[in-house]
């Protein structure tokens, strides 16, 4: 086993363990902290794939902003007993159906991935100016989508303030 495989196995094992902790934990604060670990694991995967800029964005936006937002929301709505804050659904049918559906999706997609012949390109060298290439795309061909994303973020911020504060108090 060479270093490549060892690094990949370590990162993906870490990520999947943290993701399972998000779903299985009974305490929602622990779920949120495991979610931060999952985000960091995905960021490590991005670094491993040579997408350094995206990994940094992942750490900044997900592990920074989104995680803090989720933890603040948890603090605002938490019940006094934290051990029961994240219960599974009371209906066993829904629970088993969800588990079954998730397994079906994973096995189906896994088989599809296994049987597809992918172009067996070795991962080429990473572009030195990857951020520059991304900026060329973002402000060139895809500038309309870029502006639309900016407007979407503005609308989301205004909407979140109005929803959380109450429209009559603005």
């Amino acid at each position: 086993m060479n270093l490549d495989q060892l690094v990949f196995l370590a990162i993906s094992g870490f990520t999947i363990t943290a993701a399972l902790a998000v779903v299985w934990s009974r305490n929602i604060v622990r779920s949120a902290l495991a979610l931060i670990l999952t985000f960091l694991g995905v960021a490590l995967t991005f670094f491993n794939l040579g997408a350094g800029f995206l990994g940094l964005v992942q750490i900044l936006v997900y592990a920074g902003a989104v995680a803090v937002l989720i933890i603040f929301a948890i603090m605002l709505v938490m019940k006094p007993d934290p051990g029961t804050t994240n219960p599974t659904t009371p209906s066993r049918d829904t629970h088993y159906l969800g588990g079954l559906l998730a397994w079906l999706v994973v096995i189906g997609l896994g088989l599809a991935i296994g049987f597809t012949t992918w172009p067996s390109l070795p991962a080429g060298p990473v572009d030195d100016d990857a951020v520059g290439a991304l900026a060329q795309l973002l402000l060139g061909n895809y500038v309309v989508a870029f502006e639309a994303a900016a407007i979407l973020l503005l609308l989301a911020v205004v909407g979140a303030i109005i929803l959380a504060k109450g429209a009559d108090k603005i």
Partner: protein, 102 residues
């Protein structure tokens, strides 16, 4: 040799875990967190395919950036909604949300 399908399997596993969380949880915030897991799985797939199939053009990374933007907007509005409903219902359990049922 770690290839494209290993990364796709990692993405599939993350997606499945998120899907299970959406079905098996009652807490609205926990369901939002599971949706975030699924979005991250999609991002892993985008970046992996970009790296192995078309490394010259970074279109996959571009799409991943847009997914991150939309996910940030989604989580802010979703949490504001949850806090707003909590004010009225004193609960974040999805079973207690029947405001739009009649």
């Amino acid at each position: 040799m770690i290839g494209l399908n290993h990364y796709l399997l990692l993405g599939t596993a993350l997606f499945g875990i998120g899907l299970y969380g959406v079905f098996a949880k009652r807490n609205a915030i926990a369901i939002l967190m599971s949706v975030e897991l699924m979005l991250n799985a999609v991002n892993v797939n985008f970046v992996a395919i970009n790296r192995f199939v078309q490394p010259a053009a970074s279109l996959g990374q571009l799409f991943a950036i847009f997914v991150i933007v939309v996910a940030a907007a989604e989580v802010s509005v979703g949490l504001a909604l949850i806090i707003s409903i909590y004010r009225q219902r004193r609960s974040v359990n999805l079973d207690d949300f029947n405001l739009m049922k009649w």
